[in-house]
Symmetry: C2
Subunit: 300 residues, 2 copies
Amino acid sequence: VENREHDYRDLLALLHPDTGRAFRVGVTGPPGAGKSTLVDGLAALWAGAGARVGVIAVDPTSPFTGGALLGDRVRMGGLSAHPGVYIRSMATRGSTGGVAAATGDVARVLDAFGFDWLLVETVGVGQIEIEIMNICDSVAVVFVPESGDGIQTLKAGLIEIAQLFVVNKADRPGADQLVTELEHVMAERRNSHAWSYPVLTTEAIHRKGIDRLAAELDRHRMFMQSDNRLAERRCQQALAGLENVLRERLHDYLREEPATDRWLATLSQQIATGEVDVHHAAGLIWQRLRGAEPGSAQEE
Amino acid sequence: VENREHDYRDLLALLHPDTGRAFRVGVTGPPGAGKSTLVDGLAALWAGAGARVGVIAVDPTSPFTGGALLGDRVRMGGLSAHPGVYIRSMATRGSTGGVAAATGDVARVLDAFGFDWLLVETVGVGQIEIEIMNICDSVAVVFVPESGDGIQTLKAGLIEIAQLFVVNKADRPGADQLVTELEHVMAERRNSHAWSYPVLTTEAIHRKGIDRLAAELDRHRMFMQSDNRLAERRCQQALAGLENVLRERLHDYLREEPATDRWLATLSQQIATGEVDVHHAAGLIWQRLRGAEPGSAQEE
């Protein structure tokens, strides 16, 4: 499914009736924030309590992927040994639509396998922040005291996609100040929302604060399961997932049909040399895609 | 053009013959690396030498955008005062395809205005890294000694899209080690490429090392302008730009046509409740997009 090979769509169609049961938690934040150690701690805690936990690591800097080039996959020693935890690391190469669609589908597969919790770990700066929201039911953002620009990043986008905020490596200088700043931002948000947007401190490496984080995630799961919230969110996720899959189709259409591929190469050349404007060229391809005759579209 | 309003496509078509002259430099890297200060220094240096410099800041944490919510635009005092420098800050909200398409188009507009250099500043973690490569002729990645995971990020993707590597805040502990590590990675790369992939140190805030960076960028510009390299790269950029514009068309198609919009809402609901598989739903929409009758597609 991840590699889009064979009859992966048929496979997903078969699995589809068994999906929708796992609660999906996204863990995001800047590189070096300790997301993997937190995910490790959460998975161990839940698995220890008898739950089945699936982990999807979509993070080039994650120890799960070994920070390695192009799909070199390493499993974390501690976790892979636990029978209740399954880890899948994914490369983040390729088009955004493709990565998002593949991540969504891998989450669907693990969901169908009957995991209670799905943890999706990803680097949170840039566009992936929006994608994790479209894949997960709950999103936790992880900061460290050193990320003094955390608040800026937060203001710039993460505030709208996250429901839990974690200051990890909380024994380091600056942690209290960051917590105060986060609390200040959240205070406003709490006034207009039913959810409490907790700000938590952890020392993931010492397994401190993980139990509190797990409890808050469980509280958010119950919150979402009340008042039709989860159903509404999953409807939004479905819409975003649908568009990602359509983007992937568009990409394949442009590459796989030899005539389109050749035409695309010619148009690119003409755009680069200034003969044709990119929007005009896109208009021609769009017409053809919409079913106009190739000849007539080219002559337009 | 940025807001996709009015007849922006006609405007771009009119400007198109005047584009392709500016050399486009992307400056990317993790938040807090000092990208804006570097861009500020480069622009001041070039403008001081008589060049016309355009700056596009696509960075939620940039002081150009004020790190502010949703499109609150602030201009940097020093730069906006210089008559040779024009700054445009852009919000990064919305779909990836949309942001990339809009950034490419804004670059085209500034290009047509006759700027010699275009500096595109963006946060480099996540998918935007690939987009900056598709918009710019030259990409510089900025690290700081604190970003110990810099090498990991580099390995995970930036190495393939950047031609210059900058260790900023080089007076801080750890700078020498980071430079050594980067040099180690580059040594291998230099063997198989004609370009030298320089590793530079700067203290942007003290204006140290900017002249060397400017000289290396100029050297890369000349390198690209030889042996047809720039023409080839711009052809690749055109191809990527074309796909971004087509993604935008797809997005608009899904939202703007009332019948499709309603159908999309129904399908999302059915996916969320488990009645329909996302790939099956995408197949139905794709058929309709390709020109099949709406009725027949729905009944398929």
